[in-house]
């Protein structure tokens, strides 16, 4: 817990482990995650597909799917450990103090309920408003997310809206109860580029107005640069680097982060072939011995194959999980 003390942080995740218990063994999909989110902060969680980003956020919500279970660790929301809460206590927190928007606006709304009904549902549950008051609040939220004809949208069904409009409606629904933390899991991945920019603008705007903290999950570093203040990089179920957004882009510490940044297409390097990190994310049930990134890492040496590095502080509020930064292990940076 580097720069954020218990006092200023909204959410602390400590040594969180979420495992799946399948027929062919245990899969450590999230394996000892630590990070914090400050009040009013936007933290980006990045990493390739399958590294455990969604599962981390679902663990915070207490919505781990399938055979998964949180086996260790704490999720502290202003000091209260959510992992120990009952289902009933959690349902009072979900949608009220922490809410979430998902990647697929097409399927994340209920097709047989009106948009208004779906926004009002949370308000009626958490704020015990009358239907009339809930409706007024819902209309207000729809206006906030940029629907000029909010009244009409209330009575429309999701299939009558475009993808971008649905994602706006999702945001209206998520922030209706004025949550302290908004988790956005790839909120723009399924949208057109122009719509993406609008939705990102909207999220920034909503954050300003409601002073909500945001946990933004994405694998798009362009989105990170535009939205986040701090970045946590995940690889194979673990945090491998954490830094201020500017520091991360100026000087990525972890070889994996370097690779991610090099693989972002940039306009002035058009002619160069697009770089991509060789190999694939190892599946969490078949992790190599030593540093999980070693098979793909150009800096790797014997040490990396024998032992797994720890996450360590390297100053300026940065943390990195790599032997290059550990002089005792022969690190040279």
């Amino acid at each position: 817990m580097n720069r954020l003390t218990e006092m200023t942080a909204l959410l602390h995740i400590r040594n969180l482990k979420t495992y799946f218990f399948g027929d062919d063994g245990t899969v450590p999909a999230v394996d000892g995650i630590d990070f914090s989110i400050g009040k009013g902060e936007t933290l980006a969680l990045v990493g390739e597909s399958g590294c455990g980003k969604s599962l981390t956020s679902l663990s915070v919500m207490g919505l781990v799917p399938g055979t998964g279970r949180i086996v260790e660790g704490e999720v502290l929301l202003e000091g209260e450990n959510l992992v120990e809460k009952t289902e009933e206590e959690l349902s009072r927190i979900r949608g009220n103090e922490i809410s979430m928007i998902f990647q697929e606006p097409m399927t994340s709304l209920n097709p047989v309920l009106t948009v208004g009904e779906q926004i009002m549902e949370g308000l009626l549950l958490h704020q015990r408003l009358s239907r009339q008051a809930a409706r007024e609040r819902a209309v207000q939220m729809l206006k906030l997310v940029g629907f000029p004809r909010a009244e009409a949208i209330m009575d429309e069904y999701p299939h009558q809206l475009s993808g971008g409009m649905r994602q706006r409606a999702m945001i209206a629904m998520a922030v209706a109860c004025n949550p302290r933390l908004l988790i956005a899991d790839e909120p723009t991945t399924a949208l057109d580029v122009t719509i993406q920019a609008q939705i990102l603008d909207l999220m920034r705007d909503v954050k300003e107005k409601l002073s909500t903290s945001i946990l933004l999950i994405t694998h798009d570093l362009g989105v990170v640069a535009e939205m986040a203040e701090r970045v946590v990089v995940m690889y194979a179920g673990k945090v491998v680097e954490e830094a201020e957004v500017q520091d991360l882009f100026d000087q990525p510490a972890h070889p994996y982060t370097e690779g991610l940044i090099r693989s972002v297409p940039s306009l002035d390097e058009e002619k160069e072939r697009l770089y991509s990190i060789e190999g694939n994310v190892p599946s969490p049930d078949r992790l190599p011995k030593g540093c999980p990134f070693a098979p793909r890492c150009s800096e790797a040496w014997e040490k990396c194959l024998q032992k797994e590095p720890e996450l360590m502080e390297i100053g300026h509020g940065r943390r990195v999980r790599c032997f290059l930064y550990d002089p005792e292990e022969g690190g040279s940076r």
Binding site: M61, L63, P65, E87, E88, S91, R92, I93, R94, G95, N96, S99, M100, F102, E104, T107, S108, L109, N110, P111, V112, L113, T114, E121, G122, L125, H126, Y157, H159, M170, M173
Partner: protein, 320 residues
């Protein structure tokens, strides 16, 4: 919407016409006629000639069809060769029984299949789920004549709990509530026989539909909103999962009202299904034509009701 319904109803006319032509052709293709089987050596052959003439059977098929069509359009369904009574009267006496049996089977199907399917889906791959799955497969693979005979054997002959034929206790002279209870007592076995396959199929259907709906993204959204599990089930899962059942509801209506031929025959249930079987055996074509036309109409109507209901419950469906 109203225009759509009107258009659909208008399409009934050419369809029923085609059905009647087809049916009439089939009747004509069968060798012999209503009087072939009745030949009685003691009767004068002239008598049959006269009867054939009286019922128009001596005319050419086209003439016969035109005559039938003209009468049909005037609401005149003809006289039964066998019963020597107006067909409309014969149907009128029996249609009530068919509808009563159909409604009872309907109620049994939906009140059992939906809760059982949901129950199964709430605990998939559990002992209960496997038990119900097994039972459903038995139900689906049991032909209704076999189910009927089995029920009669168990509950009539062996246990003597329920009667196995007719709609009322003959000569009991019951009235009011007692008569109704007597009727229910009689309808139970035929209604189970008629609905057993549907109960099994709809239990399976409900189970898989609910299981699939639970995996949907919008269900996760509902949980993320803090909606308690019981409300998620009712408001989000079931509303979506049970939509397709509404279509089946309409289709079943057509089929149940058109007479349960096998069940009515096994249980000597005097409905239009039984009337049809008897008419086929006797080549009583005024009855065959009338009952089949009625059944076709019910099936068409059931299809239309299914489509309309679907549009009513699913906001994504709109008819122009």
């Amino acid at each position: 919407m109203y225009q759509y319904i009107l258009r659909r109803v208008l399409i009934f006319i050419p369809m029923l016409f085609l059905i009647s032509v087809l049916l009439f052709t089939l009747v004509q293709l069968a060798p012999g006629d209503a009087f072939t089987g009745q030949l009685d050596p003691n009767q004068d052959a002239r008598y049959y000639e006269e009867m054939r003439e009286r019922f128009g059977l001596d005319k050419s098929p086209v003439e016969q069809y035109l005559m039938w069509g003209k009468n049909f359009l005037q609401g005149e369904l003809g006289i039964s060769f066998r019963h020597k009574l107006p067909v409309s009267e014969l149907i009128g006496d029996r249609i009530g029984n068919t509808i009563f049996l159909g409604i009872c089977a309907y109620i049994l199907t939906y009140t059992l299949a939906i809760p059982l399917g949901i129950f199964s889906a709430q605990r998939p791959y559990s002992k209960w789920d496997y038990t119900l799955t097994g039972a459903a497969f038995v139900g689906i693979s049991m032909p209704s004549f076999f189910a009927g005979l089995l029920l009669i054997f168990l509950f009539s002959f062996t246990l003597d709990w329920f009667p196995f034929s007719g709609t009322v206790t003959a000569g009991a002279g019951l009235g009011g509530m007692e008569a109704f209870i007597d009727k229910l007592h009689h309808v139970i076995l035929p209604a189970i026989t008629l609905s057993i396959i549907n109960i099994a199929q709809y239990t399976r259907f409900t189970r898989s539909s609910v299981l699939a709906a639970k995996q949907q993204d919008f269900v996760r959204t509902a949980y993320a909103k803090g909606v308690p599990a019981s409300v998620v089930l009712r408001k989000h899962v079931l509303r979506n999962a049970l939509l397709p059942l509404v279509t089946l509801f309409g289709l079943d209506m057509g089929i149940l009202l058109s007479g349960a031929v096998i069940t009515e025959t096994i249980f000597s249930w005097p409905g239009i299904g039984q009337l049809l079987v008897e008419a086929i055996i006797n080549r009583d074509y005024p009855i065959m034509m009338a009952v089949t036309m009625l059944a076709s109409f019910f099936v068409l109507l059931g299809n239309l009701v299914a489509d309309i209901l679907y549009a009513v419950v699913d906001p994504r469906i709109r008819y122009e």
